[in-house]
Symmetry: C2
Subunit: 410 residues, 2 copies
């Protein structure tokens, strides 16, 4: 059997697998070492009671002839779609139709699969540092060419740095698609309405598709920062949006997300003529996916109940408090922490220009704190480091103290 060379020769492992390996090695060498994990962006607070109750009730409903649900409607159940359309969009002045919204099992799955819409030789751009999934999915499909000296031959990377205030400089030449994650993973930074409008305007002018990953939007504290790309004028003609219940409502282990593909969104076929991305995505899901678990969709619907909303806001406030603690502890270390306000991530420069992996190993050894080296997110992350707010308050306090001490020791 002749294999896909692009997949067979993918460099190194997935970032978090490499972190897990180094942590395992450390633990084997230092059994009983009191590690604090701020590496992977996984939530830690228990699932909201209202959500769990809805999941459990839907499970028991399935044991009755009336309550049983087999294959669901393509794109998700109406009861969930209506709630999302009302709370996440109409409430912010964005009016979408039901068939523009597709319920799926995760924003990772979706942001990885959306490249199937693109021409094989489409030119892709990402901000750098970047959530690795966008790059890996395109690389596996062969769209990025060869990997040489830590770079993909055919990938356009737009640095987002302390120096440019984390606003990418938009290329003058045309790219087919640009992935944007806002609030950003890994930097925790956001863009203002004006900055985001400039990107939408640029995309319209160039004919570039924006893949807008809003997985962290629930953390936004400033009402003027857009939570949906469709709050921006003209965005429906250029943007696909991916959202998730993972960070909003602690669904990392429950699995539910959605993607919006507006009807206005058109692409160009090589053989000439326009193609509807909504129709393409619908066709793709219909042929390659069988929907999200019915009880899980019921659980997601409970996120919007008054009780669910109350419990979820509490959890978000808890993580936001953790992020604020980290920011404060790092503020006068010279590491220039950013993020941590509208996002659960704090992004910092490593002390003394260490590499991210060197700082990772140093922190693991000296402070027993696990973070994520910036290099794991691309060359633009070199010399930077990510910490997450998804720990307990007690652990975050302890980690903040250990981090300060370890940095000051250098």
């Amino acid at each position: 059997m002749r294999v896909n060379d692009h997949l067979a020769t993918m460099p190194a492992g997935y970032l978090f697998a490499e972190i897990a390996k180094r942590v395992r090695d450390h633990e084997a060498a230092h059994p009983g070492s009191p590690l604090i994990r701020m590496g992977i962006g996984d939530v830690t607070l228990p699932l909201a009671g209202a959500v769990a109750k809805a999941l459990a009730e839907a499970a028991m409903d399935m044991t009755t002839p009336e309550g049983f649900h087999g294959y669901g409607p393509e794109g998700g159940y109406r009861f969930l779609k209506e709630l999302i359309l009302r709370h996440d969009y109409a409430a912010r002045g964005v009016h979408l139709e039901e068939d523009e919204l597709f319920i799926t099992d995760g924003a990772k799955t979706d942001t990885a699969a959306l490249q199937e819409l693109f021409a094989p030789d489409a030119l892709i751009a990402v901000t750098d540092p970047v959530y690795p999934v966008y790059v890996d999915a395109n690389a596996m499909a062969g769209r990025l060419g060869a990997y040489q000296d830590g770079r993909w031959q055919r990938l356009v990377t737009l640095p987002v740095t302390h120096e440019n205030g984390f606003m990418p400089q938009l290329p003058r030449h045309r790219v087919d698609a640009l992935y944007l994650c806002l609030p950003n993973n890994p930097t925790g930074t956001v863009l203002t309405r004006t900055q985001l409008q400039a990107i939408v305007d640029w995309a319209r002018e160039k004919g570039t598709l924006l893949i807008f990953d809003a997985a962290y939007k629930a953390f936004i504290q400033d009402p003027d920062i857009p939570q949906s790309i469709y709050e921006l004028e003209g965005a429906r003609e250029v943007a696909i949006e991916c959202c998730s219940f993972s960070k909003t409502a602690g669904f990392t282990g429950v699995r539910c997300a959605w993607t919006v593909v507006p009807r206005q969104l058109m692409g160009r076929m090589a053989k000439g003529g326009d193609a509807s991305l909504n129709a393409m995505w619908k066709r793709r899901l219909g042929s390659k996916f069988n929907g999200v678990s019915y009880p899980v969709q019921r659980a997601a619907a409970a996120v919007y109940s008054p009780e669910g909303q109350g419990q979820i806001r509490q959890a978000l406030a808890y993580y936001q408090q953790n992020a604020a603690l980290l920011l404060k502890a790092l503020s006068d270390t010279g590491c220039e922490p950013v993020g941590g306000v509208h996002a659960p991530y704090v992004w910092m420069k490593t002390p003394g220009g260490m590499s991210g992996w060197a700082f990772f190993d140093y922190l693991l050894r000296e402070a027993q704190v696990v973070g994520t080296p910036g290099e794991g997110f691309g060359q633009g992350g070199a010399g930077c480091f990510r910490l997450t707010a998804f720990s307990t308050l007690e652990h975050t306090r302890e980690a903040a103290a250990r981090l300060r001490a370890a940095i000051n020791k250098l």
Copy 2:
């Protein structure tokens, strides 16, 4: 944005969407018409109590700090993997390692995604008629060339017919991959151990990968018919196997499945050298998927409890009884029904050489019974028709009588 022409120009809709449309049109024209649905292969019996209870309990566990689960281990939780390895494999003399097994959200998702392992120009073979997903997924990736006169230019189709006893004639030339579904969807037929060994031997000789879809294996009633491809000698070197809880345990709306990719399985890179398909699949899942819902994995584990096994065997027996009823009713109509013993599907010739779609429309009008036209499964299905056993006993009895009457009227 330049799009994927192969996806943008996919012919017609997905089969079941077309059926749903014709049924909707019929219902709009004849409101209150007492339809019996035997078209889509969706289960109808309520979820087993033991399974629902496990799902509900896991949901409530998630509300406690000790019981909360976020992202799960790549490839699935050990508690579920161990049960599958023991009950589905070791009990039949097949010994697999934990890292050869990957828990996912559906066999449809998996059989659609596995083509990502193949070279862009890999030559694909399917039996014909065929479950459309194998073909569609490869077509969307551009591997099948153009669609002309109802055929894909670069797809090798191996007819399985009443005439050849539903055993495909294996090509003399090499193909890169052959998809096999056994018990078969749509024909409901199985192959003997000897026939299946001949296919494995051929695959070893030619260097062909077998994608073995065993989604219906729970229906097998004859202990000598293989339930896993790995019961055959040498299969580990040539076969990937996809299984599902959907039909085994009524999980069409719950979503859990698994795929086995043995470590021995190697492919050939275009640039030379071998590549491990297990490593490639692991990398692919790690980068593009975030695992199956934790409560759903707990529900799947409950399928193997003594209580779960008892409830599930009852449901299977119920569907098997329905299938037997259909077979009997059609036995002397001249339609040569097959399947329906080791599978929930009965496959038949249409009366008087009608096309499958013509017979579909005729049955909808005359008998208010919804089936699936053979053409929906490829040209090899022309003039044939599929009925499913996933109805209630009462509806199946009624449908069997109506079917006989409608056929005899012709």
